[in-house]
């Protein structure tokens, strides 16, 4: 067998082997790799490089070496999934560097972080003042995670006691002018429904680049032709407006009538409508 066919064969089989090994070793990002995983990755690459470009060494030796460098990280990963102490040993632990707003100088020194490094990392998190930090740790990967003091945390809906309607993830039902049946079935809707909705908006499905349905069953679309304006869904704002109008009407009737029984009825129902509006308002936005 000529040398070049051997090289071809070796390279092909090694590419396949390497592909499966990287697949089985997991989905971690390069930046999340521990030193050990990082090194074993390099060594695997090196072995493949040597054995695919030269024929000096028997092919089996290469496979054998790869097997070792695959099995040991694989086992280490399996054990560290099960055992916390083993995980601490192989992947390292996070170190607290700021606690109760005070910098732990000893821990900082232990991790080899200078005060400049700390400031730099905090700046990357948009924090320019150490006094704004309540708690910070150095993760095993070397990055810093920061918990700002309560008053420096961004304001959330929970903080101001705002009630928001719960939402689920929207489903994409039209892609490149074609209906995706599976997401549609997830929402327990069918193509007939989709056709009616598109007809309401006066567009045909071929013109739709992307269409999504939110958890309230509202369809929003983007067209290929950006000059055409798509009507904004009006059902919900319209409902709220009608409810408000009815409430105002009832109040008006209560003022107009002289029949005390009717007056009482109008007032009671106007109040009921008011509570209904208050309850439904967050859901109609």
């Amino acid at each position: 067998m000529p040398e070049w066919t051997t090289i071809l064969l070796r390279s092909f089989s090694l590419v396949i082997v390497l592909f499966f090994i990287t697949k089985w070793l997991g989905k971690k990002q390069i930046s999340q790799l521990s030193i050990f995983e990082y090194i074993s990755g390099i060594v695997l690459g090196g072995i493949v490089a040597i054995h695919s470009s030269t024929t000096e060494y028997p092919f089996m030796y290469g496979l054998l070496a790869m097997l070792v460098w695959f099995i040991i990280p694989f086992i280490v990963e399996l054990i560290s999934l099960k055992s916390k102490s083993f995980r601490n040993f192989t992947q390292g632990k996070s170190t607290v560097v700021i606690q109760n707003g005070k910098i732990m100088e000893d821990n900082l020194k232990k991790e080899g972080y200078s005060s400049d490094d700390l400031l730099e990392n905090l700046r990357e998190k948009n924090i320019f003042k150490v006094a704004d930090v309540e708690f910070a740790v150095i993760e095993p990967s070397g990055s810093i995670s920061v918990l700002p003091k309560r008053e420096n945390q961004p304001l959330t809906a929970k903080d101001i006691g705002l009630k928001l309607a719960p939402t689920k993830e929207p489903e994409t039902v039209i892609m490149d002018g074609k209906v995706l049946l599976e997401p549609l079935a997830n929402l327990s809707l069918n193509t007939n429904w989709l056709e009616t909705e598109l007809e309401k908006q006066n567009v045909s499905i071929e013109n739709v680049f992307l269409g999504q349905v939110d958890s309230n069953g509202q369809l929003t679309i983007d067209l290929y032709d950006d000059k055409i304006t798509v009507p904004v869904p009006t059902q919900k704002p319209l409902l709220l407006a009608t409810m408000k109008k009815v409430q105002a009407d009832l109040e008006l009737f209560a003022l107009q009538t002289n029949n005390s029984q009717s007056k009482e009825m109008y007032q009671r129902n106007s109040k009921k409508m008011q509570t209904a509006i208050e309850r439904i308002q967050p859901f109609l936005k």
Partner: protein, 67 residues
């Protein structure tokens, strides 16, 4: 326009609200949202019943406008 027709218009609006709410409750996949729409719909139904009686009473009071 008489009071009777005003109240009738309002009654029609309430029926439209009820229909929209029923539609929304059917469409949503979120359980909490559906429950809210249904409970609000219940309130609307109570108002509808009250107003229905009023419509009948008013049309009896204004027989001249009856076709």
């Amino acid at each position: 326009m008489t009071v009777g027709s005003d109240v009738k218009t309002c009654f029609a609006s309430i029926k439209s609200i009820e229909a929209t709410l029923t539609g929304l409750a059917v469409q949503t996949t979120e359980n909490e949202t559906r429950k809210l729409f249904e409970s609000v719909n219940q309130i609307i139904k109570e108002i509808k019943v009250d107003l229905d009686k009023q419509v009948i009473m008013l049309s009896n009071e204004e027989p001249q406008y009856k076709q």
